[in-house]
C-alpha cells in the first residue's frame, strides 16, 4: 500500500522507527497526484523540490516529515497564492501565514496548492477560476466546497492531510462529500493572519484529515495565539490528541429538531439517526433540543459574508499586484476592467450583493438586521450548550450533485450550506466525519454521508473526543474510493 494512504499518526510511527523518510512520503503523495490528479483536479500546483528542501530543514515535532496540502488562499512564502482566481494569476505569497509558521514549527511541510472555489465563494468547487475539482467517489460529482480540492486530495490519497478554510461550511461540507474528517475550529482558535479573507468575522482555517485523531494532531499544531491577529484567542492550546481517549459515557448529545426537517434526503437522515443510536450504545445520552433561529441563518450568512467580502476584495485592483488590464486608458477603467476580467461570476455576484446591503438607505434593513439576528442565532447555541455537551446534525441535506447541474441556480446551491453556516455565525466549533454511504437517485456510485458534531466555543476537545469514539466503533473512515 502506498504511503500516501496512511494517516499522520501511522506515518509518525514509521518515521520515528526510521522505516521511512520524509522524502518517501513526499514522493508517494506526489506520485499519486501525478498519476491521477488530472482526473481529480484537487491541486492547482505543487513543488517537489521545495518540499524536499523544507523536509530537510523541518524541526522535530509531531508533524516532522509530514507533508500537508494547503488551500490556495493560505499564504506560504514563496509559493503561489492565487485563491483559484484569475485576478491573482502568478501571485506569489511574500510571507508565511501564522498557521503555516506554526505548522513548520511542528515539523510539517506545506506541499501543494489545493483547488477551491474562487476566494472561497462556493459550495461545489465549480467556481474555481482555474478548473473544477471532482469527487473521488464519483468523478461526475462535485467534491463540495469551497475547500473542495483539500477534501478531494485527502480522500483520493494524494495527500496525507490538508488545511482548508471554513466560512459557512467550506471545510465540513466537502469533508462530508468526500468521506474525510473536517474540523472548523472556534472563531479565534487559529490565527487568520495570512488567510486571504473572504468574510473576516466568519473565516477559520482548519484541518481536513483521514481520521479524527489526525484532525486533533493537525489542529494542535496550527492553533495558538497571535499578536498579528487581534481576533485570535490569547490562550494556550489544549492537548487535543491527548484527550481523545477519555470516556464519553454520560455525555449529552443534542439533536436540534430544526436540522431534521422536510428538505433532508431520507438516506442522510437515517444515517445520522443511526449515528445517534451508535452514540447511545457508547454511553452518551441523546436529547432533543430546539434552535428556533436556524431558519434565519442562511439569509444572515449571505448578508454578513458578502458585506465583508465586498470590502475585503476591494484590494484586488491591479495597482500593486495581481491582474492589471492592459486595455485601460485611465484609472477608473483600470479598476473596472482589471476586476471585470479577473473575477469570476460568483465572486462578482457576491461583491455586488455585499455592496448593496451596505449601501446608504439599505444598511439598516439588511446589514444591521442581519447583525441582530446573528446575536439571536448565537443565543440559540448558548442556550443549547447549557443543556448538552455537543449537537449532532447532518452536514448537508443532500448528497453531492453532478458537476454543472446547479450552475444556473445559485439559490439551490446555497442550500447545501443550510446546516453549516450557523456555526460560523455563532463562532462555535464543528467536526464533520463519515457516518455512512448512499447511492444518489441520479447515480450508480456510492458517495459518503457526513455527520456534524457542533461544540461550544473552544470545546474542540469535546467534539474530537466524541468523534474519535464514534470512529473507533465504526469503519466508514476505512473505505477508499475506487479510482482504478
Amino acid at each position: 500500500m502506498s504511503l500516501a494512504t496512511h494517516t499522520i499518526a501511522e506515518l509518525r510511527r514509521l518515521l520515528d522507527a526510521k522505516e521511512v523518510e520524509a522524502k518517501d512520503i513526499i514522493d508517494s503523495v506526489l506520485d499519486a497526484a501525478e498519476k491521477q490528479d488530472d482526473r481529480i483536479g484537487g491541486y492547482l500546483s505543487w513543488d517537489r523540490e521545495k518540499a524536499y528542501a523544507d523536509a530537510a530543514q523541518a524541526p522535530e515535532g509531531p508533524l516532522q516529515g509530514i507533508p500537508i496540502a494547503i488551500k490556495d488562499l493560505i499564504n506560504v512564502k514563496g509559493h503561489p497564492c492565487g485563491c483559484a482566481s484569475k485576478i491573482l494569476t502568478n501571485y506569489v505569497a511574500p510571507y508565511d501565514a501564522t498557521s503555516i509558521v506554526n505548522l513548520r514549527e511542528a515539523g510539517g511541510i506545506p506541499l501543494g496548492r489545493a483547488n477551491m472555489d474562487e476566494f472561497a465563494m462556493g459550495s461545489s468547487n465549480e467556481n474555481s477560476g482555474i478548473k473544477p475539482a471532482h469527487n473521488p467517489w464519483d468523478l461526475e460529482r462535485i467534491p463540495g466546497g469551497s475547500s473542495g480540492g483539500s477534501a478531494a486530495v485527502v480522500a483520493a490519497n494524494e495527500a496525507i492531510a490538508a488545511l482548508g478554510s471554513d466560512t459557512g461550511g467550506s471545510i465540513r461540507q466537502p469533508a462530508a462529500f468526500c468521506g474525510c474528517v473536517g474540523l472548523k475550529p472556534s472563531y479565534g482558535r487559529v490565527s487568520r493572519f495570512g488567510l486571504t479573507a473572504y468574510a473576516s468575522s466568519l473565516d477559520q482555517i482548519g484541518p481536513l484529515t483521514k481520521t479524527v485523531e489526525d484532525a486533533a494532531i493537525l489542529l494542535g499544531a496550527i492553533s495558538g495565539s497571535d499578536p498579528n491577529d487581534s481576533t485570535c484567542l490569547d490562550e494556550s492550546v489544549p492537548d487535543y490528541r491527548g484527550s481523545l481517549e477519555g470516556s464519553i459515557a454520560g455525555k449529552k448529545l443534542g439533536l436540534p429538531k430544526e436540522y431534521f426537517t422536510e428538505g433532508i434526503d431520507p438516506a442522510i437522515r437515517s444515517a445520522v439517526e443511526a449515528a445517534a443510536k451508535q452514540f447511545e450504545s457508547l454511553g452518551a445520552e441523546i436529547v432533543d433540543v430546539s434552535m428556533p433561529h436556524t431558519e434565519q441563518a442562511m439569509g444572515v450568512y449571505y448578508i454578513i459574508a458578502t458585506a465583508e467580502a465586498s470590502a475585503n476584495l476591494a484590494r484586488f485592483d491591479g495597482v500593486r499586484y495581481g491582474h492589471r488590464s492592459p486595455e485601460a486608458s485611465n484609472l477608473a477603467e483600470q479598476y473596472a476592467k482589471s476586476r471585470a476580467e479577473g473575477f469570476g461570476h460568483e465572486v462578482k455576484l457576491r461583491i455586488l450583493l455585499g455592496t448593496y446591503v451596505l449601501s446608504s438607505g439599505y444598511y439598516d434593513a439588511y446589514y444591521l438586521r442581519a447583525q441582530k439576528l446573528r446575536t439571536l442565532i448565537r443565543q440559540d447555541f448558548t442556550n443549547a450548550f447549557e443543556q448538552v455537551d455537543a449537537l449532532l446534525t447532518p452536514v448537508s441535506p443532500a448528497p453531492p450533485f453532478k458537476i454543472g447541474e446547479k450552475a444556473s441556480d445559485p439559490l439551490a446551491m446555497y442550500l447545501a450550506d443550510i446546516y453549516t453556516t450557523s456555526a460560523n455565525l455563532a463562532g462555535i466549533c464543528g467536526l464533520s466525519l463519515p457516518c455512512g454511504f448512499m447511492t444518489p437517485k441520479d447515480g450508480a456510485r456510492e458517495v459518503p454521508i457526513g455527520m456534524q458534531l457542533l461544540g461550544a466555543p473552544f470545546a474542540e476537545s469535546t467534539i474530537l473526543q466524541l468523534g474519535h469514539h464514534y470512529e473507533q466503533a465504526t469503519d466508514w473512515h476505512t473505505k477508499q474510493p475506487a479510482l482504478g
Binding site: 491573482l88 505569497a93 510571507y95 493572519f193 473576516s200 487581534s230 484590494r315 485592483d317 484609472l331 451596505l358
Partner: protein, 487 residues
C-alpha cells in the same frame, strides 16, 4: 442689499499626524524622507491575508488630545471600514471610526494671541470657545506623485496614525478660523501629540463654509474647501470664498453644494466636484479589530495631562507678576515655558528674569534659529546672572557683557565675571564709612543743599565716593548711607 448684511458660517475638519514611532496598524516606522516604499510591510501595503493590529500609543495620544480639549470619551470606541477606491489607499477601504469615535464634544478656546497679528486689535468675540463635534482616529493614505504619463505611489506614509478633529459650524470669520487652527496647534504641540506643522502636511484641514443673510435661520449651501497648506492660506481662501459666495447671491445666482480647491498661486478657489459625485462610503464595523474599552486608557492618560497654554499664561501672570503679553510669549511653547519657570523659580526678581528671557535670550536664539532645547545657557545660570545684577554685584551693562560671553562659551556667570575682573562692589558699611565721611568733609556746599532738602545733591556726593573708591562701591548702598548720615 449691502455685502455686510451677509455673514459666514464655517466648520473645520482638521487631520493631524500623531507623533508615534510606528504606524497605526503595523510595526513599520513612521519616518519622513526614507527611500520610497522602504517603510512598508504586507499590512500597510494591503497584501492578501494581512491583518491590522491597533497601535496603543496612538489611541492614548488621541484620548489625551480629547482630555486637553475637554472632550468626553465613550466607554466603548470601535473601528469601521470606510470604503472608496483610490490608488493611494492600499486596501481600498480606510480603517476609521464612524459612530463611536474616541472623543466627543469639547472645544478649542481661541487665544487672543492666536489671531493674526493685524487682527488682534479688533477681535469680534473675545474669549470665544469653538465647539468640537468629535475626534476620531484613522490611518493616513499613501502619497501619490503624478508625472506626465504615469503616477508613482510611496506607501511609507500609508498607515500613519491620523487624528481627525471636527469642529461644529461655530466659526464666523477667516480670522477666527486662523485663530482656531493656531490655538489647536499650540495645544497639540503642548501635549507632545504632534508637531502639527501645516507646511509639512502634519496638520491638514478641510473647510466648510456657507453664507447667509442676517436674520435668515436656515444655513446657506455649503462649499467644501481643500488644499490650503498654511494657516494664512486658510484665511486667504476663506476671505476669497466668502466674498465669491456673497457676489453670487447678490447677483441673483445660487450656490451649488460642491468641493472647491484653493489655488495659492492664482489666489482663488476653483471647483473640483459637485455633490452628485459624492461617495457612499458604506461604513461598517471592521471585523478584524475588537472595540476598545476606554476606562483603563483614560485612567492612564489622565496622569499625563499637561497644563494648557492659556492656563499656564494665567498662572504666570499671577505667580510672577508679569504682563499678559509677556506671559503669552513665555507660554507659547512648552519648552520655553519650562525654561522660564526653572529660571524664575527662586529668583530675586522673576519679572526681571522674564525680561531677560524675552528681550535678550529669545532675540539671540531667534536670530540663530536655535530651539530653546539647545539653549547654551542653562536656566539656572540665567537666574544666577539676573540675581547677581539684582544684588547690585555687577551693573546691568556688565550683565549684558557677561550674557554675551555665556551665550558663546556656555560658561557660568561666576566664571565670566571673574575672567572679566568685575569685582563685586563695596557693600560693607564699615569700609565705606571712611570714604563717605571724607567726601562729606570735603564738600560742605552740597552737604548743606542736601540738608536743606535738595535730594539731587546726594547723587553728586555719591559720585564723589565712587571716584574715591575707583568705582568699586555699590552706588545704591552709598546713596543710602549718605542719606542716613545727613538726615
Amino acid at each position: 442689499m449691502a455685502r455686510t448684511d451677509y455673514f459666514a458660517t464655517i466648520g473645520l475638519e482638521v487631520h493631524v499626524q500623531l507623533k508615534t514611532a510606528s504606524k497605526m496598524f503595523c510595526g513599520c516606522a513612521v519616518e519622513y524622507g526614507a527611500p520610497p516604499n522602504s517603510r512598508t510591510c504586507p499590512v500597510c501595503l494591503g497584501m492578501p491575508g494581512a491583518l491590522p493590529v491597533l497601535n496603543q500609543g496612538a489611541i492614548e495620544r488621541t484620548v489625551l488630545a480629547g482630555l486637553l480639549l475637554g472632550c468626553t470619551t465613550p466607554p466603548i470606541s470601535k473601528w469601521d471600514r470606510k470604503n472608496y477606491y483610490y490608488p493611494d489607499m492600499p486596501k481600498n477601504y480606510q480603517i476609521s471610526q464612524f459612530d463611536l469615535p474616541l472623543c466627543l464634544g469639547g472645544g478649542v478656546p481661541l487665544d487672543h494671541f492666536a489671531y493674526p497679528k493685524d487682527a488682534q486689535k479688533a477681535i469680534a468675540n473675545p474669549g470665544k470657545v469653538v465647539k468640537l463635534t468629535r475626534i476620531h482616529l484613522e490611518e493616513d493614505v499613501a502619497k501619490s506623485t503624478h508625472h506626465s504619463s504615469s503616477s508613482s505611489i510611496d506607501f511609507n506614509r500609508a498607515g500613519t496614525p491620523l487624528m481627525e478633529i471636527v469642529s461644529e459650524p461655530d466659526i464666523e470669520s477667516p480670522e477666527e478660523a486662523f485663530a482656531y487652527l493656531n490655538s489647536l496647534r499650540q495645544i497639540l504641540v503642548y501635549g507632545d501629540l504632534s508637531d502639527a506643522d501645516m507646511e509639512k502636511g502634519q496638520m491638514r484641514c478641510d473647510v466648510n463654509v456657507s453664507v447667509r443673510k442676517r436674520g435668515q435661520e436656515k444655513l446657506g449651501t455649503k462649499i467644501e474647501l481643500k488644499n490650503m497648506n498654511s494657516m494664512s492660506n486658510v484665511r486667504r481662501a476663506l476671505k476669497y470664498e466668502i466674498d465669491r459666495q456673497i457676489t453670487e447671491l447678490e447677483e441673483g445666482r445660487s450656490i451649488t453644494q460642491a468641493t472647491w480647491r484653493w489655488d495659492d498661486d492664482l489666489g482663488e478657489t476653483q471647483m473640483m466636484r459637485t455633490k452628485e459625485d459624492a461617495h457612499d462610503y458604506r461604513y461598517f464595523p471592521d471585523p478584524d479589530l475588537l472595540p476598545v474599552e476606554t476606562a483603563a486608557i483614560l485612567t492612564k492618560v489622565r496622569t499625563a495631562v499637561p497644563e494648557l497654554p492659556h492656563e499656564k499664561r494665567e498662572r504666570f501672570v499671577t505667580a510672577y507678576q508679569i504682563s499678559d503679553y509677556d506671559a503669552s510669549v513665555l507660554a507659547s511653547e512648552r519648552a520655553l515655558a519650562d525654561y522660564f519657570e526653572t529660571a524664575a523659580d527662586g529668583a530675586k526678581a522673576p519679572k526681571k528674569v522674564a525680561n531677560w528671557v524675552i528681550n535678550n535670550l529669545l532675540s539671540v536664539l531667534n536670530e540663530g534659529s536655535i530651539p530653546i532645547s539647545d539653549c547654551p545657557i542653562p536656566a539656572e545660570a540665567l537666574r544666577e546672572l539676573v540675581d547677581t545684577i539684582e544684588k547690585g554685584e555687577i551693573s546691568n551693562n556688565q550683565g549684558k557683557e557677561v550674557f554675551a560671553v555665556m551665550i558663546d562659551s556656555g560658561q557660568s556667570p561666576g566664571e565670566v565675571i571673574k575672567e572679566k575682573g568685575y569685582e563685586p562692589p563695596m557693600n560693607d558699611t564699615g569700609e565705606l564709612d571712611a570714604f563717605i565721611d571724607q567726601v562729606i568733609a570735603e564738600n560742605p556746599k552740597p552737604v548743606e543743599d542736601v540738608k536743606s532738602g535738595n535730594v539731587k545733591s546726594i547723587n553728586f556726593l555719591t559720585g564723589q565716593v565712587m571716584k574715591l573708591t575707583k568705582g568699586k562701591a555699590n552706588p545704591k548702598v552709598v546713596s543710602e548711607l549718605i542719606g542716613k548720615k545727613l538726615s
